[in-house]
Symmetry: C2
Subunit: 209 residues, 2 copies
DNA sequence: GATAATTTCAAACAATTGTTTAACTTTGTG
DNA sequence: CACAAAGTTAAACAATTGTTTGAAATTATC
């Protein structure tokens, strides 16, 4: 399917509404209005509401795998450097595309759309395999520990970041940061998250940064 | 509101359907049929679908805070022991009530129901405050490090566990455990998760188990 | 500038939604 | 037993849902 600017105009408004109301909670009428197009345009451009969701996933997930692949294959970087870049980029990406990651989360709970499910499954497993590679490289160089649970490690990275997004307001309230501007706070949170995750990964992998 | 056995009979079927289809995706008709009661009984017993969700949250979240409070206040346990018990109990609870924790996750993404939101908010903050207490106790005894980000630590615990549940099938596939029975696998995952989290918490808090 | 293709629109579509009704059965109480 | 309260039911309710329609407007092509 060819995605034009018009598609994207609708898609990104849909993304916002899916993130704030859920797939079933966001109506086609709401999306059309938010995107400034007629109700019938959603069917015209995407075929259906479901296929619009699928288009959103294709659009957003397209670039993800390639980025990681080039990072892992990069021979100029030491394994621990790759780990740190991985963390930096992941936290960045999630912060930048918060709405989409919220949708991803809900879609994983409610496995309904088989196309989305397949995209998610492929991404997850290829991610795990690539990071497995990275870890084995580090182990061969004797800089990483033996017996590392790749999946759990990934769960910690994705889970901690996801929760950080969901709990932003609690983080503000708990740390007396309510006066801080949103952009400023987001930058702070990215910083905190990165060093937190790096600390954790050092403990799991056993290297000294 | 008084919750009877009849209420619970409906509530727990609703819980399953909310977890697998989302709040908007699970229809009152589906829930009534699954619970083996007439459609009109949902309104009769709970007033509305929304109030049924609120009743579920009250029911499930009631016991949570008290358990943690007694643990933290227990003077017979050392701080690091409390941390390990906290992890054990949390992982247990989530594994045992997977459906509910999936619903919690979706409800945090889609802040729609203000009653649910308030319950969640109260629980989160009281959790954070209690664990703050625990950490300060450990710091006073010089067994925990200084400068610990309580919220991020909690995010790691809840996030890693949540992701572990959502990624069960991928964990199986990635680690060649597809033949394993569900109960057996769940037990294995609980074990892995606990030691993983304990390892992480040791790194954050700085104690030696 | 005529004709064809694409895009946009208001209106209508049928299906499904949560909730209510009013009649009924069952249960509890004196 | 009588009678009120509580529980249960099928049917109906109005509102909302995603999608389709067919005509109008716009754009592209020759």
């Amino acid at each position: 399917m060819i995605i034009t600017e018009k598609h994207r105009q609708i898609l990104y408004k849909a993304e916002e509404l899916f993130a704030s109301h859920g797939f079933d909670g966001a109506t086609v009428r709401d999306i059309a209005e938010a995107a400034g197009v007629n109700l019938a345009m959603i069917s015209y451009y995407f075929g259906s509401k479901e296929k619009m969701m699928e288009a959103l996933f294709s659009e957003r997930m397209g670039a993800m795998k390639i980025r990681l692949e080039t990072l892992i294959k990069n021979q100029a970087l030491a394994p621990f450097q790759k780990v740190e870049i991985l963390i930096d980029e992941y936290v960045n990406k999630v912060m930048e595309k918060q709405s989409f990651y919220k949708i991803m989360l809900c879609e994983q709970v409610i496995n309904k759309n088989s196309v989305v499910l397949k995209l998610l499954s492929e991404l997850k497993l290829s991610y795990a395999n690539l990071i497995q590679e990275l870890i084995m490289e580090g182990q061969k160089q004797k800089v990483f520990k033996k017996n590392i649970d790749v999946m759990l490690m990934l769960n910690t990275m994705t889970g901690t970041t996801t929760q950080a997004i969901l709990n932003k307001e609690y983080y503000k309230a708990f740390n007396d940061l309510k006066k801080m501007k949103t952009t400023e706070f987001d930058a702070l949170l990215v910083d905190k998250l990165r060093s937190h995750l790096k600390q954790l990964f050092k403990a799991i992998l056993g290297y000294e940064g």
